[in-house]
């Protein structure tokens, strides 16, 4: 007889205000929790629930907003429980892939050397590892369109700085806690500035104001400063 496994409290469904629900896959960030949030959100987008007006994925949870005139917490709670029992993990199979040219280190990434030293490797090795694997957009936040990407290898599990950098420019590539943040606006930050891109995360006047979506994958490919102005960021593969 196998010993009984303790039942996991996740996924958990809870109310959010009078017109929302939250489906939580974990209390802390992990690769699998983020994949779950993104996959479930994709599945809900493919087969929408009646009365639901908005669905959004965060790092480890999915938020749904509904019209109280058309549905209720009870109805949607039951519908979501049913959906969670169906196979939905495959919805995340074919992400959109971006290539964002990046100038690493030097004046454009003043803290790359520090990150490499803390991670126990050369700057070149750090650039190789960060740019080798496509990083997933796990969530957008802090500013419109601003991506949190991950997860990097465990060597990059570095804490944020306790003293903030006064300002990193728009398009700055920063790193902490196995993640990268690509800044949408100039801002103060505790994340270490390792490179610079020309990427603009928010285009208010465009038909597509937010180029990046949670679930997209990004390669921050190393280029020279001259090439940065010649090579715009672009999407390479759409499903």
């Amino acid at each position: 007889m196998t010993p009984e496994q303790p039942k996991s409290p996740f996924p958990a469904i809870a109310p959010m205000g009078v017109d929302g629900l939250l489906v939580r896959f974990a209390d802390t960030l992990s690769e699998s929790a983020n994949r779950a949030a993104l996959g479930f959100r994709a599945a809900l987008a493919e087969a929408p629930l009646a009365g639901v007006e908005e669905v959004a994925a965060a790092l480890a949870s999915v938020y749904l907003r509904f019209d109280p005139a058309k549905s209720s917490y009870k109805t949607l709670h039951a519908a979501l429980e049913s959906r969670l029992r169906q196979p939905w993990q495959a919805a995340l199979e074919r992400p959109r892939r971006w290539r964002i040219p990046t100038v690493y280190g030097g004046d454009h990434g003043p803290q790359l050397a520090e990150v490499a030293a803390l991670a126990g490797m050369s700057e070149q090795a750090a650039i190789s590892q960060i740019s080798a694997t496509p990083l997933r957009v796990m969530s957008l936040g802090f500013a419109p369109g601003q991506p949190y990407l991950g997860l990097l290898p465990k060597a990059f599990d570095l804490p944020r700085q306790s003293a903030l950098t006064k300002e990193v420019p728009s398009g700055a590539l920063t790193l902490a806690i196995r993640q990268c943040v690509l800044f949408a606006t100039p801002a103060p930050t505790g994340w270490r500035h390792i490179g610079q891109t020309r990427f603009k995360a928010f285009h208010p006047e465009s038909d597509t104001p937010f180029p990046l979506r949670p679930g997209d994958e990004v390669v921050f490919s190393p280029v020279s400063i001259d090439d940065l102005s010649r090579q715009p960021p672009h999407m390479e593969a759409a499903p």
């Binding site: 959010m16 939580r24 209390d27 949870s61």
Partner: protein, 332 residues
């Protein structure tokens, strides 16, 4: 400029925003007989000087402010007509924080992401500069008689606020939640369209396992506890995600009480059930429709009319019980 905000972008890091007091949008729309989704001017603390290049109707709602038209005092919570070139002076709020100036036909600036709301944190729109000129839409009811609202919902001095349990409520011990409901808070001086801080006496309100919570979505009305256990009530322009625990969510009907509470005013919170919240919920359109049934015609006080002799005064007789007098600052 604020309308009902832009929903649908929370996943992209852009919160809905919109008027700090949406009830005031519905009141203005009811007074002018137009859609509550039109844009109005939100005046925080104090108004300004306004004029129009053609006759327009206006409505004044939200925190009562001293308003005069070419020197004549205008009633708050009412619609009025401005002739071309007349000067509308709107002063400081006598209660509450956010006053609203609505225009018949609505403001007609281009929309950004489906809304005319300014969202300062996102860099959309901004404070209006002096001498700004704003386009106005056509007003099919320009000649309609002025209306007023006899009993606008009292919400400008703090008060009792209803909240519901949310995704993180269970992180707080029952005793902590009970103590939260029993606490007499005041609205601290620190506050803006993103949220207001609550002042109180006694120990802070902490959740079990407060550290290292993964960031989750936040919505207006959420009451979050910062590191030292101080509550903040989030308002429409709050950030989209956060890692602080939240004890519950103020219901949308009562969020204007928090938004309009001036520093120092009392606030107390109590939980209601999801069923009770659903029973009291109304869409913005429903609130506006309900208010439309309560507006009354606004008539002028003869003592304030300099051109009195040009009027034909008697052409019939009524019982006169429905008369009301314009010319006083609204004391509601």
């Amino acid at each position: 400029m604020q309308d009902a905000g832009r929903a649908g972008f929370i996943e992209f890091g852009l919160s809905k925003g919109g008027a700090a007091d949406v009830r005031a949008l519905a009141e203005g729309a009811a007074l002018l007989g137009q859609s509550p989704f039109m844009a109005a001017l939100e005046m925080a603390g104090t108004g300004g000087v306004f004029s129009a290049s053609a006759p327009v109707r206006i409505a004044l709602t939200g925190a009562p402010m001293r308003a005069t038209l070419d020197g004549r005092i205008l009633r708050w919570n009412a619609a009025h007509r401005l002739e071309a070139g007349q000067k509308l002076h709107i002063g400081a709020a006598t209660k509450g924080i956010y006053g609203y100036l609505h225009i018949g036909g609505g403001l007609a600036t281009p929309e950004q992401l489906n809304s005319r709301s300014a969202h300062l944190a996102a860099g959309l729109g901004g404070y209006l500069a002096p001498n700004s000129r704003l386009p106005i839409g056509p007003d099919p009811a320009l000649e309609a008689p002025n209306q007023y609202l006899p009993t606008p919902h009292p919400r400008f001095e703090g008060g009792e606020v209803r909240m519901v349990a949310s995704a993180q409520t269970a992180r707080f011990e029952a005793a902590t939640r009970a103590r939260f409901e029993a606490t007499r808070f005041i609205r601290s001086p620190q506050g803006n369209r993103q949220g207001v801080r609550l002042g109180f006496e006694g120990a802070g309100f902490t959740a079990k396992d407060q550290l290292d919570m993964v960031s989750e979505f936040m919505i207006p009305g959420d009451i979050q506890m910062t590191g030292d256990g101080t509550p903040f009530v989030l308002l429409p322009e709050c950030q989209t995600t956060g890692g602080y625990p939240r004890i519950g969510t103020v219901i949308p009907q009562d969020l204007p009480i928090v938004a309009q509470a001036p520093p120092g005013s009392p606030l107390r919170f109590h939980f209601i059930t999801a069923e009770e919240a659903r029973a009291s919920w109304q869409s913005l359109a429903q609130i506006c429709a309900g208010l439309s049934r309560t507006t009354r015609p606004l008539l002028r006080d003869p003592r304030t009319m300099p051109d009195l002799l040009s009027y034909q005064l008697i052409s019939g007789v009524t019982a006169g019980r429905e008369l009301d007098i314009e010319g006083d600052i609204d004391e509601n």
